[in-house]
Assembly symmetry: C2
């Protein structure tokens, strides 16, 4: 980093004008003003760098590029996920990357602060979407759609402290499937869990478990433990951290930071230790406190029905009723779920990868109504696949096994052993392209034959079409198999047919 | 809209605090302050709406959702474009939606003001990407990649005045193909034009023309006409508007707004009227003024070579050397091109659609060097397909022909004519899903058979699997063809095999 004293005069002037600007009206906290000053310094330093030019090229914090190798892996995962969504009859749709800020406010609870806002450039107040669920609810309300089964694959953005090693990014891709509409209880909910199982099985990520709970049971539990109703959502956010924090730390947050009575926290502690199968649902029906709460009983009734359907789907053993599952987002109203990998497939020399949940979702019956002028509700249930984390696991597995992927699909290289054959190569390759054959050539007037053959080997191209002086004279071209190194001469006019024949055979 | 006098007290207080805040330091123009006041009023009104609740649900200005019908069309277009890119050996890649603002500055010339900035939330200064080209150059420099042929499909954002009727949005999808690396002249450039032809032919958008020019010819023309070098880029921006504005308006902008001498403007006017085929290249070699300019001669030499290769590719007749083509972006250094549709395929009753250019690109040999600390250059050439405009044309054509698209791929509906068959349906459908068959059922305990059959007809599902009392007793299920209404009973255990047989036959 350059010393301030070393800044060129133009950069100093820019820095001074930054420091002397009046504070922004929206900035009330002192800490924010300090960060503005720090940023002015940084901006000037970067300008100085740029002038040298010696600045650091990078992507923004918490984001990354995907290389061609990574793209191949990503697309394989997305293909599997999307084909599962289509197998269940979902339609595709898309929404803009940003929404009017007011559309997103009061939807995410304590997570709202993590939203990326756009700068006010003299127009609307906009924010990048935080998930695909709220835009979906906005779409339903805006178009007065009462019934829809859709999937949506897209990026979302959250200003979280990025701990990239765990597969958490500030920009990440979500794959969502949702069922909107008034239906009989738990049938769509059971399908969502079936879909999660199909995808996690299909991706072969090893053993997994889906934790299930119900927001009404969570709220009922809070009520019977003595949590004041005004604290339900904030205590819910604390409970949501149990997958990353120990109980004693969560308890401390609830008591010391959120003002919960210690004995209330301990009562909650007794419940959140409970997890098990269908039998735990029955057991909770008998719980002396919980069974007195109407909301909790409704939730338990639905979970009972859900387990019935999951058994018919053959996936009940993958599901665990877990009273510690709370889910952070405000909009859930009924059943909630989260899939966790039980262990990553660790190989010799492979670092175990902590990934947390790889899929999650739940029922949100009130969200569409928040957008509707008359508050008309459209009940919804859905799930989201955390492909970023899955991607990290698959990538690491491939590294361990030394698996290589082809990043192109090229079938034929058009080559020549002689000089001055550019024109012939251009004519040949255009013919192949026009016939739909995937073909490349080296962008040199006179490439060496060895260079051309090496290119095939390093990029995995299976066939070479060779044209030289002899071939041109005889009206033929040679087709060479890269793997066997065999070459055959064929008539020039049969080239496309011959290539197509060979490609269909392989 | 509510009257201001009707605003509730809380909204009034919010409005006042907005109006009383000090002006932002970055806001220097009075018009901007007015818009801030207007926006404060709007925000308060919206708050008032929300409280009623009676606010307007919409997407941000210049953006839109894609409905399932639109997504099907969009995906067909993207599939065709991407398969062409892959046919030419390109690898896929991705970059974040936003970049550090400093990465994007000084790349776009006069268009820079159209960039979306993110709000400074106490971190980095970020902007949404404006195209896919600059992030690609940043990627190459950052990873020290000297050679790469890649495609990239992704959204970009520009704060243009949206005239949606022309297919211009503030959020839109671009499909880019680029070849980076030091190669022999015009070979990659010719391939880019070949790709544009293949895609525009493949999409069957009717007749088209690709205008070609070279930045060195543009600059040479400016020099010999007497434009001062400091005005090259800004005059270039004016020339770029010739596809939307008449010559006399562009001339007025250059003379009145940009201070160009009238006789200089008129000399430019003589050149920009010229367009034609390969013969115009030869003619310009003889031009008494242009032939005196070294840069222009280099450009003309390359165009001559380009036309030679385009003839070998069989596409020379689609290409027009057009001296009015300038391209707005700063980063082009050599050949530039832009594809325009000559007419949209107008049918009886169809409004003709003005679409402007549908694909464009050029050579940018200096962009990667702007990112490299040592200024190392990586020559690049590429193209971008404007799928948004193409999408509008295809969509309008489908409306005219009354073409309908299926928005789901469901092959089988699992149905029942009797009550209390939910459990059987759930078991059956899970079997189908597990076998990879695309299946749906209605989410009702006891749906009517007619409702179930109607659902198939309205959504295009070809087969129905029916289970009822009789079938259960006999250990069979019925398969019904929706089109022929024929039903056959098959053994329950043969269901999956029988369905797969029927689907492979159809």
């Amino acid at each position: 980093m350059p010393q301030l004293g070393l800044l060129p005069r133009r950069a100093w002037a820019a820095l001074l004008s930054q420091l002397l600007r009046p504070p922004c009206a929206s900035c009330t906290r002192a800490v924010r003003c300090h960060s503005q000053v720090a940023e002015a310094v940084l901006t000037s330093q970067l300008k100085a760098h740029q002038e040298k030019p010696n600045f650091i090229i990078r992507t923004p914090k918490g984001t990354r590029d995907l290389s061609p190798q990574q793209m191949v892996v990503r697309e394989k995962i997305l293909d599997l996920v999307v084909s599962c969504f289509k197998r269940h009859g979902a339609k595709g749709m898309d929404t803009p990357a940003f929404e009017l800020k007011e559309m997103l406010t009061e939807k995410y609870g304590e997570d709202s602060g993590l939203m990326y806002d756009l700068k006010d450039q003299g127009g609307e107040l906009l924010s990048l979407r935080y998930d695909l669920t709220v835009p979906f609810a906005r779409y339903l309300a805006m178009n007065k759609v009462k019934k829809m089964k859709r999937y949506h694959v897209g990026k979302v953005w959250r200003r979280e402290s990025p701990t990239i090693v765990q597969g958490r990014y500030r920009e990440f891709c979500q794959c969502d499937f949702d069922i909107a509409g008034q239906f009989d209880p738990m049938i769509p909910d059971a399908e969502c869990l079936k879909i999660m199982c199909e995808i996690l099985n299909g991706l072969q990520l090893g053993d997994f478990l889906i934790k299930v709970n119900d927001r009404r049971i969570v709220d009922g539990m809070f009520a019977v433990c003595g949590v004041p109703e005004s604290k339900f959502r904030t205590i819910c956010s604390s409970i949501d951290k149990l997958d990353k924090m120990a109980w004693k730390d969560v308890r401390h947050e609830m008591v010391a930071k959120k003002g919960l009575a210690p004995e209330v926290a301990d009562r909650i502690g007794d419940y959140v230790r409970c997890h098990g199968g269908e039998s735990l649902v029955k057991q909770m029906f008998q719980d002396p406190r919980l069974s007195q709460n109407k909301q909790a009983l409704e939730g338990l009734g639905d979970l009972k029905l859900l387990f019935e359907y999951l058994t018919l789907f053959g996936i009940a053993k993958k599901i665990s009723f877990d009273l510690s599952l709370a889910r952070g987002l405000d909009y859930y109203t009924g059943v909630i779920y989260e899939a966790v990998l039980l262990h990553t497939p660790t190989q010799a020399g492979e670092e175990p990868l902590s990934v947390g949940s790889v899929a999650a979702g739940g029922r949100y019956d009130g969200l569409v109504g928040m957008f509707d002028p008359k508050g008309h509700k459209v009940p919804c249930v859905g799930l989201s696949i955390g492909v970023e984390r899955i991607f990290n696991i698959v990538e690491q597995r491939m590294k361990t096994f030394g698996e290589k992927v082809r990043t192109t699909e090229t079938q034929v290289l058009v080559a020549t052993p002689h000089k001055n054959f550019l024109h012939e190569r251009l004519k040949l390759i255009a013919e192949l392209w026009d016939a739909g054959i995937k073909a490349e050539m080296l962008y040199k007037n006179n490439p060496k034959l060895l260079t051309q053959l090496h290119y095939c080997e390093s990029t995995g191209i299976p066939l070479v079409v060779i044209v030289g002086e002899q071939e041109l004279k005889e009206g033929v071209v040679k087709i060479r198999s890269v793997a066997s190194r065999e070459e055959v001469a064929i008539k020039r006019e049969n080239l496309v047919a011959e290539i197509q024949k060979r490609l269909s055979e392989s």
